[in-house]
Symmetry: C2
Subunit: 251 residues, 2 copies
DNA sequence: ACCTGAACACCGTTCAAGT
DNA sequence: ACCTGAACACCGTTCAAGT
């Protein structure tokens, strides 16, 4: 997970003196802008939180936003992180495996809950405080499960990337449950001569609910992570200068 | 994998009579449009294959494209599928595991090879002939490895989705190897009080090359898939009408 | 000094007018 | 009948002009 957006972290607070004793309209602030952008996203999807739409919702011209937000991309990053605040990072209190699944399910639920958020998460490098909070919790959970730090460090990325991709995929209109969707039509219509396996297996390929697929996918990842050692630095490049510090294996 | 694009499969050939004995300019055709769009994508990324840019490259007005292509989204789907023609779906001739890895590596290489193609793949429901060819081959390979069809059907989706997401992530600018990137900066700058684990583990979190991560990820998936049974229709909803047909377990 | 209207440089798509 | 110029309805971003 964790994608682009020019340079400069937009999460450091900006100094913009709000007009004191201001007029009737709510004074602009980064807070208000991000909040209304998220509200628009929830109501209308990605198209709803465009700079001009957000400005219109706040009853200003689009130029005004640029005093508080660098960019449309920066606004998206801020909105994503605000939305990630709703993720329950505790994982509840079941078994270890259940806690991992619950944590990821919460992340997935948040991303799938508001339209466009999945795509947004996959198109943005998530480095806001709430993204870090999620990262920190999942990392802690994996370590608590006895997974070695070096492996857990790869595993966190993989788990989050998979969930993000699932949400983005859904958000873009894929659901294997919709019998009228293009995916189902393509599989049902696959030519038996060119694609014999797909044709032969079409019923099975389309079986299973979305929930079953997600649930199975998480188990695959957890099982795989538990059993796959991180490649032990086989062909590591020769250290450029000085001996490499031996990493302590903490915890 | 496999995402949106209004309705209607754009892969059925259109009937547009090309002007016979035409003028000096290459006559328009869907083929030419898709080919130049892909060329532009390779050279300039997603921004390069916009309708107006493609039309300009063909020395026409943007309206002309609409005779051969429904839509900007349809053009993207066509370009994606054309690009997928370069995937080597054989998997070479190593061990079974190696063939799965080689096949997926080829898919990943194609997606990563032209800028923007990863994002495009994640934003498009891939149902063109070359997408089906890839799907067919991977499915066959999994079955040949002794994986039960019901499980393989889930596995194909998961493997392709993961690779697509990896490519999209890269395409959006994430690389853990760039010490100046926002990701590295965020982890190195994570506050020790709020994010103790991230702070403590920052060196390890940023270790490992992109290649190592991908390679490990594929092993995790393959191992997980080999060991995780598909949930056996436990809480299946009561059949709406008539008894459900028992699916034959072919192969 | 702060804010923003209006302009700039773009998009995708449509449709009436041309050949 | 086929093709397309020009227009329509949008974008994000900038900057000079206002308060």
């Amino acid at each position: 997970v964790f994608l682009v957006m020019s340079a400069g972290n937009p999460f450091e607070p900006r100094e913009v003196t709000s007009r004191r004793g201001g007029p009737v309209k709510t004074p602009l602030s980064r807070e208000v802008i991000v909040a209304t952008a998220l509200a628009l996203l929830k109501r209308e999807g990605l198209g709803g939180m465009q700079m001009r739409k957000v400005a219109a919702a706040l009853e200003t011209g689009p130029a005004s936003l640029y005093a508080y937000v660098d960019d449309a991309n920066a606004l998206q990053a801020l909105v994503l992180d605000r939305a990630l605040g709703d993720v329950d990072v505790t994982g509840g209190n079941g078994s270890w495996r259940q806690r991992v699944r619950t944590l990821l399910a919460s992340y997935l639920a948040v991303l799938s809950g508001t339209p466009g958020l999945g795509q947004l998460a996959l198109a943005t490098i998530a480095v806001g405080p709430n993204a870090l909070r999620l990262y920190e919790s999942l990392l802690g959970l994996l370590l608590k499960g006895g997974i070695h730090l070096e492996r857990a460090s790869f595993a966190v990325d993989m788990l989050l990337l998979y969930c993000t991709a699932l949400a983005a995929e859904r958000g873009n209109g894929v659901d294997p449950d919709d019998p009228e969707g293009p995916l189902v039509r393509a599989i049902m219509g696959a030519s038996p001569s060119s694609f014999p396996l797909i044709h032969e297996s079409r019923e099975v390929l389309l079986s299973g609910t979305g929930e079953e697929r997600v649930s199975w996918g998480l188990d695959v990842l957890i099982n795989g992570i538990l059993q796959t050692a991180r490649p032990e630095a086989r062909a590591r490049r020769a250290p450029a200068a000085g001996p490499r510090k031996t990493r302590k294996t903490e915890r």
